[in-house]
Structure formats: structure tokens, C-alpha cells
Symmetry: C2
Subunit: 143 residues, 2 copies
Amino acid sequence: MSDCELCREPGGLVVHRAAEWRVVRVADPDFPGFYRVIWNAHVAEFSDLDRAARQRCMEAVAAVEGALREALAPAKINLASLGNVVPHLHWHVIARFDWDSRFPQPVWAAARRTVEPPAEARLALSLAALDARVAGAAGAAGP
Amino acid sequence: MSDCELCREPGGLVVHRAAEWRVVRVADPDFPGFYRVIWNAHVAEFSDLDRAARQRCMEAVAAVEGALREALAPAKINLASLGNVVPHLHWHVIARFDWDSRFPQPVWAAARRTVEPPAEARLALSLAALDARVAGAAGAAGP
């Protein structure tokens, strides 16, 4: 699908690439622990995958979630597959903190506060170290 | 968890109850095709479930999604597990339409337009009929 952004482009900084999906980090200063699991083939909806593929997809999502929980001890993990603008299956996996700019609202709501110092500086580890943790978990989730 | 809203209350109009999860319809006039798959036991995060339970949970979500796609032919399905306010695992399954009040933004963004006639009147079938379709699909998804 040459007109699909996620068919043409990685969709973020690629931290792990598997046969059927990839994990990218989203560059969002408000949400440094924000990754996406993107299904490589062009399908729009989760239910376009068959049962076994759905399971493989969600095990990748759960692996990223698990890495974020272990590395960051966030207040909550947010998972979402929306795709209204880019209808190519991708799962947002976002670590949320009670100090973040929207908490407890979804990341798509209006900002409630300004975060000083920047959110990234509040993480327990560097983004490079976090990427490595996420990549390790993703690599263990499937081929 | 007596202090948890989704342990105390159904969380919406119950359209199907399975052993491990239930499906409720959310009363939101802007989004009439809005259901939740709520895990009955109190867990906060998707990755608190083991692999097999995650699969059963997501097959319920996929069943609701499939019923909404078949009944409503929406522009997109949105799936989300957030739980920042109520940290008890529940999946939002929302049919989105290009005419809805927020499209293509997430349902949690600010309204972009007023929908006249009301959104419910634009669906291809009544909410009671939609509930029945969703309940049928959910019932086929697991015990």
C-alpha cells in the first residue's frame, strides 16, 4: 500500500524488528515511555488477523508492556489500537505517570499541566537503556 | 476490591456475561457503538494475565469488534485499555464513523462537530438489535 504511511516508513525509531511486526519508539517529549507495535503487513483492523496472528501480535504488545513496567514502574500502562488517521494496525503502548502532562486523562486529551523538568529526565534510566530493555523483551516474544 | 468501581458495579449495560469477562454497552450519546470487555477478576494490567488468559481476553475483544464491523460497517474500530482512573482491566471497543463528533481524533479529544440527528439514529440498526448481535458474537467467543 504505497499510500500508507506505515507501509512506507518505520513509524518511529525502530528498536526491534520481527518477521511479522516491529517495535518503534515514538518521539514525544511528554511521553518518553511511548512505543508502538506495528504489524508489518497492511491490515486495518485487529480482527483482520486470524486468531493465531492476533495472539502473536498481543504477545508482542504484552512483552513491551512488561518491559516498561519492569524498567519504569509506571502508574499505569495504556494500550490502544486506533488508526483513524493511519488505518494500518499498530498498537500504542504507553507508560503513564501520575506527574505526566495528561494523567489521569488519556494522552489524547488536552494537557493538564506542564512537566518541569522534562519528562525524559524523570525516568529511572536513559531512553537508550529503555530501548535496549524493550528490544530484549520484544526479541523474546517471537521470531 | 471493594474500592474498585468495576468490582462493585457492572460498568455499563451488561449484554453478555462469561465466566472470566463480561461485555457491557457504554451509554454515550456521541458513540452509540461503544462497548467494553471487562475482565471479571481484579487485575490492573493486561500483562497481569497469563498468556492463555490474555488470549481468551483478546478473543472476546475481537468478537465484539467483529460484531460491530458486521453490523455497522464503521470507518474504524478503536480498541483501548487505559484504566488510569479505574485500574481494573477493561477494553474499550468503539465503532467510529467519519461523521462522529471527534473523528478522526480519538474519542477522548475535544469535540470537532455536533452530530444532528443524534448519532444513535444514524446506525443501521437499533441499539437493542446491536446489543443482541454483540451478545451473540461474545457468546461464541468463549464459555
